[in-house]
Subunit: 405 residues, 2 copies
C-alpha cells in the first residue's frame, strides 16, 4: 500500500531538518566529534537542584504535579516568566504570556496562527532551520533578506517588502533572532533594533523576535545592555517574542514561552489546546522551583563564562589550524562560529570528508531559504569538551585539505 | 492595534474546547465538584516509583536525561512501546512507532499529514472533542456518522462516504475510538471492528484508531479480548493507531505514541521535528523505567478495579437520584457515563443551574460535529472521590429539577 494520495500538501512539502539529519548521522559514526548540534553542555545543568526539586514534587502532596494542566501554563511559572521578562526590559501582563512545549512549538504556533499557504514570511539570510521548517510546513513562502554587520539590511528589507506587496503578495511578518543568531552568532545593533520596530510599524508587518540566547553574551565582547529585546520597546503590540529555558536550564524539560498582545495569546491558547493540550506538568514545576530557588539566576554568569571559554578554545584552534582555509565570525555570544570556506569550496563536499575524519558540522546552505551559502558552515562549540574542540578542529582541517584535492 | 488581518484562515476557525472551557469555569467556582474533566485520579499515580526513578535519572550520570533527543523518541522507550503493543496483539517494527507529546499531538499530526482544507474526515456521532479541535484547526470538514449499540452504523457510514465522493469530496479517513469512547463509553464489537477494517479497504479510506482507554475495561462487564485493537488485524497498513501513557501512568508526563506504516511514521517524524523537536527527555525516561520496573504492568489491574468501583458509585447514585431525569449508558470501561436528559431538556440550561449548585459536566453537544445532542451530557467519574460522586449527583439532580421549572 502507498500513501501519497492521502498526504496533504503540507505533508508533501515537509523536509528533514539538516540539523536533525546530522543527529541521525552522528548516531551511526562512533567517536564522532560533533560541531553539528547546537546543544547546551549538560555539564552545566544544575543536576543536584533538579534532583532535589523533583523528589519534593513527586511526593504526591500536590496531585496536580502529574496531572493535565492549563493550556496557558502552570500559573506560578507564567508569573515567573513575567519577572524574567522584566529583567530584559519587557513589561507584560499575565494575559500576554503562554508556556510552550519548547520554543519550537512557539514557532510552529506562530506559523499556524499567521500563515495561509502562499503568504510571505521575511527571514534573515541565513536564518534558523527550525523556523524554516515550521514556516514551510504551513506552506509559507519565505523570502530572505541579506544581513550587514549589525543585522538585516534595512534598505533591502524595505525594497523586498515593497516589491512583494506590489506583486499582490501578503507579507505577514519578519522573523529575526537579534541576539547571537543561530547560525551566524550575529548581534543586531540597538539602533537597528529601533529601526526595525519603526519599519514594522510603517509597513504594517509583525515582528517575530526569537531570543533563546539573550542570556549567553560573552562578557569580553558584549554587555547585557546590547541584548535588549526589540519587544522591550514595543509600545503598540507589534512584536511576538519567543524565548526558552532550554539554553539556561535544560532542553529536556521542553519549557519555553511566547509573549504577545493578549488577543494574539488567546489564539495561541486555542492553537495549543489542539496541538498538545498543555506542557508537561512536572517539567513546568521543576522550572518554577528552579527559578524560585535562585538556580536560574545563578546560571547566567556561570554559563556566560563557560561558553565564552569554549568559544575561545575553538577560536584559537581555528586560528591555528584553519586560518587560511576559512574565514569565521567573532561571535559575541551564543553557541556558534559561522565560517565561510576560502575559494568557494562546497561545504557539502567538506562534510563528506569530515564525516570520514569523524567530525561533523551543519552545512550553511541549510540556513538559507534562497539556496545560497554553499561555501558556509556552522560550527557549534557549546557541547564538546575543550580537548574535543581542539581535536575536532584538527580533523576538520584535514577534511578541508582532502576536499581541496 | 488589531490583528484580524494577520490571522490565518486556520486561526479564524479555531474554537475553544468545551472541556478546556469548563476547566476555566471550574477554577473560578470554589468547592465545585467536577464531572467535567476526564482526568485520571492522581491517587492512582505510582508516586513512590516515579520519585525514586526521577532521583536516579537526575544524578547527571546520563547527560542525555535533560538534553534534546531524537524526534522519533527515546530509543529504549520506542522499544518498550513495541512490547506494550504486542500484549494487545499488534505487531510492529521500530520504524513503525513514534513517541508523541501526548496523544493530542498524535491527533494534531494526523490532521496535518492528511488534511488539506476542505478534505472530509468521517467521525462518530458523538466523538472526542480533542480530535474535533485538531481536525478543525487543519480546516477539515467533519462529517458525523451515527452509532449503534456496537459502534458506528456501517450502512450509514458507507452511504455517507459514497454520497460525499459522488459530490467530488475527498474522504481521507475515519476517526474511531473503539474502546470505551470518549464521550459515550461505547465499546465497538469485535465483528464490527473487522467489518470496519474491510470497509476501509474497500473504500480506500484510512482508519485512525485512538485507544487511550483500552487497558481500563471493567472486569464485571468486559474482557481484555473484547478490547483487541483494529490495528491488530491490519495486515495492509490501513490503520494509524494512537495510544498513551496518560491514563495508565500519568498525563503530566506528556508521553504517548503513534503506530503506522514506516512511510507514514517518517512523515510524522518530519512533522514533529517542526512541531516541538522531541518529547521531554526526563518524561520519556521516567516512563521507560516505570515499564522496565514492572510499574506499568501492576497499574492495569489496580486501575481497572479502581475505576470500576467509581463507576459503580456513580451509577448507584444516578439510579437513586436521577432515574426519572435521564437515561444513562452502562459503560464497560473508561471514565465516562453518557446521559440523555428526559423530555429533551437542554443540557446547556442544566449546566447553568449545575454551576450554581456547584457541580459541573460537559454538555454533550460539544461532541457532535453536526450540532445535535443538545439533550445529552458527559459525566466523568474518574477523578472525584466516592463522597464527591454521591454529593455531585445529588447536586445535579437539584440542578435538573431547577432547569425543568
Amino acid at each position: 500500500m502507498t500513501y501519497e494520495r492521502f498526504f496533504s500538501r503540507g505533508a508533501d512539502a515537509m523536509r528533514e531538518s539538516a540539523i536533525r539529519k546530522m543527529g541521525g548521522v552522528a548516531a551511526r559514526v562512533p567517536d564522532l566529534i560533533s560541531f553539528a548540534a547546537g546543544y547546551p553542555d549538560p555539564t552545566t545543568f544544575p543536576w543536584d537542584a533538579f534532583r532535589e526539586i523533583a523528589a519534593e514534587l513527586l511526593t504526591g502532596r500536590d496531585p496536580h504535579a502529574l496531572q493535565y494542566g492549563a493550556t496557558r501554563g502552570y500559573r506560578p511559572l507564567v508569573e515567573d516568566i513575567g519577572e524574567v521578562l522584566a529583567t530584559h526590559g519587557i513589561t507584560s501582563t499575565f494575559e500576554e504570556r503562554l508556556v510552550t512545549t519548547g520554543s519550537q512549538q512557539g514557532l510552529d504556533l506562530v506559523a499556524r496562527l499567521f500563515i495561509d499557504p502562499g503568504d510571505v514570511v521575511l527571514v534573515e539570510l541565513p536564518t534558523y532551520t527550525g523556523a524554516i521548517s515550521a514556516f514551510r510546513n504551513a506552506q509559507a513562502e519565505m523570502v530572505g533578506v541579506r544581513q550587514e554587520a549589525d543585522g538585516v539590511d534595512l534598505a533591502a528589507l524595505d525594497e523586498t517588502c515593497t516589491r512583494l506587496r506590489a506583486a499582490g503578495r501578503r507579507v505577514k511578518f519578519l522573523y529575526v533572532v537579534p541576539n547571537f543568531q543561530n547560525p551566524t552568532g550575529l548581534l543586531i545593533g540597538l539602533d537597528k533594533r529601533r529601526a526595525l520596530l519603526e519599519w514594522s510599524e510603517r509597513r504594517d508587518v509583525l515582528l517575530v523576535e526569537d531570543d533563546p540566547y539573550g542570556e549567553l553574551y560573552f562578557p569580553d565582547r558584549a554587555s547585557r545592555g546590547e541584548t535588549r529585546p526589540i519587544k522591550a520597546d514595543d509600545t503598540t503590540g507589534r512584536v511576538v517574542y519567543l524565548s526558552s529555558f532550554s539554553k539556561t536550564l535544560a532542553p529536556g524539560f521542553r519549557v519555553a514561552w511566547v509573549v504577545a498582545p493578549a488577543e494574539v495569546i488567546a489564539k495561541f491558547d486555542l492553537a495549543k489546546q489542539a496541538a498538545d493540550i498543555c506542557a508537561g506538568a512536572l517539567d513546568q514545576r521543576v522550572i518554577h522551583q528552579a527559578i524560585h530557588r535562585g538556580v536560574l539566576k545563578n546560571q547566567g554568569e556561570r554559563l556566560r563564562a563557560h561558553y565564552q571559554h569554549k568559544r575561545r578554545v575553538m577560536e584559537s584552534a581555528v586560528d591555528e589550524q584553519l586560518a587560511t582555509q576559512l574565514q569565521s565570525t567573532a561571535p559575541r555570544g551564543g553557541f556558534f562560529l559561522w565560517a565561510t570556506l576560502a575559494g568557494q569550496l562546497d561545504a557539502e563536499q567538506v562534510l563528506a570528508r569530515a564525516l570520514e575524519a569523524k567530525v561533523s558540522f551543519v552545512i550553511g546552505s541549510a540556513f538559507y531559504v534562497d539556496g545560497s551559502g554553499r561555501d558556509t558552515l556552522r560550527l557549534s562549540f557549546s557541547q564538546p569538551s575543550d580537548a574535543e574542540l581542539v581535536e575536532g578542529v584538527k580533523r576538520l582541517a584535514r577534511a578541508i585539505e582532502m576536499a581541496r584535492r
